[in-house]
């Protein structure tokens, strides 16, 4: 097992290295000049040249890349050219917002998707399966922004059940400790604010979780149906076990593997979806920050945040692969 883990970690290194080259060249090919962006209206040729020198932008590209790589290996992700704060600081401040949203969406997708998939598989001949199929078809066909705006209109504007946007009522102030709103409100001893934060979380989580919900439902249904046809399931039924016991002990235990893999794969999609969800719901997270950085030509923020996104994506894939190998020994020796 240890050998397998080492092999998988080593195989991620060239990808990260390749990614650093791609992002570096990508950013340096972007139109616009970071120095001019930094100076804004005050840009004069002399000042721009000075800033370019300070930022090292007057060096040959390979020197700049090597400097960038050295900094990266020391955990230095550069500074924003707009506000001059280290990228890592802003990222750390905003990342918990994205994690909170992503986890809530994942809980929604898994919590509903798996029971829904099992339910559909149990009623393949009935109308119930049809209804679940239609739900999952809508799930993968409705863009996050359409669903998000519709939820905002119906649930917030018309029914007044939940707030439209943001992470907390603007009149509430909570000291930032972890930047996870649900945790910070509890740390501040404010159960009312906790409930408010939870209410703010529901609509964005549903909008973001709709696609993974559809995919998890589909894969659970397919996986349960696959296992359902196995001989050992027939044997279990033939020896008179209750349907519930057959389901829990014989079907689900074997149907888990593909479902777990797909759940892991959804994390990348959720991070990407967070970009749009955060824009729709004015959610203070990394996704909206990246979009703003691209619009502001804030090069180092774009470069570093995409690299961190990719790093997280690879790390999650690695964890899923290792978990999969743990559950299924045949993988380790392949």
């Amino acid at each position: 097992m240890a050998k397998y883990i080492v092999r998988r970690i080593l195989s991620a290194i060239p990808v990260l290295f390749g990614l650093s080259i791609v992002l570096f060249s990508f950013i340096h090919l972007l139109p616009g000049d970071p120095a001019a962006a930094l100076l804004g209206q005050h840009a004069t040729p002399e000042l721009t040249a000075k800033i370019r020198q300070q930022l090292g932008l007057d060096q040959p590209l390979y020197v700049q890349y090597l400097q960038y790589l050295t900094q990266l290996l020391h955990g230095d992700l550069g500074k924003s050219v707009i506000n001059n704060r280290p990228v890592i600081t802003d990222f750390a401040n905003r990342f918990p917002g994205t994690v909170e949203l992503t986890l809530a969406a994942l809980v929604f997708a898994v919590g509903i998707g798996i029971p829904l998939g099992r339910f559909a598989a149990r009623h393949t001949q009935g109308w119930q399966d049809g209804v679940v199929t239609v739900i999952s078809l809508f799930g993968i066909s409705i863009p996050i922004f359409v669903l998000g705006l519709t939820l905002q209109y119906v649930v917030s504007v018309q029914l007044h059940w939940l707030p439209t946007s943001g992470r907390l009522d603007p009149r509430t102030t909570i000291p930032s400790v972890t930047n996870f709103m649900l945790i910070d409100t509890l740390l501040a001893g404010r159960p009312d604010a906790f409930v408010d934060a939870l209410r703010h979380l529901i609509l964005p989580a549903i909008a973001l979780g709709s696609i993974p919900l559809a995919i998890i439902t589909r894969i659970t249904r397919a996986s349960v149906l696959d296992v359902n046809n196995e001989d050992y399931v027939r044997t279990a039924r033939a020896k008179g076990l209750t349907e519930r016991r057959v389901d829990d002990r014989h079907i689900m235990r074997n149907a888990w593997l593909p479902v777990v893999t797909v759940i892991g794969l959804q994390v990348g999609g959720l991070l990407a979806g967070a970009v749009i969800t955060e824009t729709v719901f004015s959610w203070n997270g990394v996704g909206r920050w990246v979009v703003e950085a691209i619009q502001d030509h804030d090069y180092f923020v774009v470069q570093s945040s995409i690299l961190i996104f990719a790093f997280i994506f690879l790390a999650v894939n690695l964890i899923v692969d290792i978990g999969y190998a743990y559950l299924n020994p045949r993988i380790r020796y392949a």
Binding site: V15, P31, L137, L149, A272, V280, I306, A310
Partner: protein, 298 residues
């Protein structure tokens, strides 16, 4: 060979196969959901092609005197938008952009991804390794971020959006084609062709590619649905066509978000258009998958 199939014992007479594609087409025309999908796609394509014939209005110029007319107003079935332009007209013209950008971006993705996948799958070994690591790099960047980055890099414009959306699909197509080709490399008919001296190029083009295409066709059909959604997503983020007056579904939604209370229909109608066209391609894609590989059918 004549189609004189021997009847199997106590079962219906076996039907002679008419070839993969004709069999698949026959199965597809019996697949209800796929037919519904095709119907949605036909409506979508007709809306795009016939937009100027169906609507008497200009999709770009409007009169402020007519702004925010409710749906059902005489002459404006779906109402008018903030600039007094007919909403139905803009949705019809929006279908043109979605169809055009969706189809061309998937073709671009197929060209880039297909070439990479074909080379990797046909050669294997070091070539495969290097190309697949490149694909891994692209796959490690979340799709919409990659698309946003490309549009930001190349500036806004329809060709840029096509390339951006195409690039998000390319690594997926590369993976799929490579996987199918690798599985075929040791298939009996490929080994046979190789043993009688077929050149690697002939092996790839004549024997392996035609057999590897089915999964790629399914993936491309499903990718059309995501391409339409991604194009609208870029528009929604303000990275749509450079002229902000252009009738593009995502851009239309962004323009209307501030009027969610007063004119929610400006969100619903373009939203429904996006969803119906995406459902159309998703249903057709699923139907094609089942028709091309009947074992998947449940």
């Amino acid at each position: 060979m004549t189609a004189t199939a021997t009847p199997a014992r106590r079962t219906a007479p076996a039907r002679a196969s008419r070839g993969l594609w004709r069999d698949a087409l026959a199965r597809l025309t019996r697949n209800g959901p796929a037919l519904l999908g095709m119907f949605f796609i036909v409506v979508f394509v007709l809306a795009a092609v016939l937009a100027p014939v169906i609507s008497p209005y200009d999709p770009i110029a409007g009169s402020l005197a007519n702004r925010l007319q409710a749906p059902g107003t005489a002459g404006h079935v779906l109402g008018t938008d903030l600039q007094g332009r007919d909403e139905l007209t803009r949705i019809l013209y929006g279908a043109r952009i979605s169809l055009q950008v969706g189809v061309i971006s998937v073709i671009m993705g197929l060209a880039i991804g297909g070439t990479l996948g074909a080379i990797a799958g046909a050669f294997g070994g070091a070539v495969d390794n290097v190309l697949m690591r490149m694909v891994d790099v692209l796959l490690a960047i979340p799709g919409i971020l990659l698309a946003i980055g490309i549009v930001a890099w190349l500036d806004r414009g329809l060709p840029q959006i096509m390339l951006a959306v195409g690039m998000t699909n390319a690594p997926i197509f590369a993976r799929i084609l490579r996987g199918s080709l690798l599985a075929l490399r040791e298939a009996d008919f490929v080994v046979a062709a190789r043993s009688i001296g077929a050149t690697p190029l002939r092996l790839l083009l004549r024997h392996m590619l035609p057999n590897a295409l089915t999964s790629l066709i399914v993936a491309a059909t499903l990718a059309l649905a995501t391409a339409i959604i991604d194009v609208a997503g870029l528009g929604f983020l303000g990275l749509g066509p450079p002229d902000p007056r252009t009738a593009e579904w995502g851009t239309m939604l962004t323009d209307s978000t501030k009027y969610l209370r007063e004119a929610p229909y400006l969100i619903f109608f373009p939203g429904i258009a996006i969803v119906i066209s995406a459902i159309g391609f998703n249903l057709l894609g699923d139907g094609l998958r089942e028709s091309l590989d009947p074992r998947l059918r449940r």
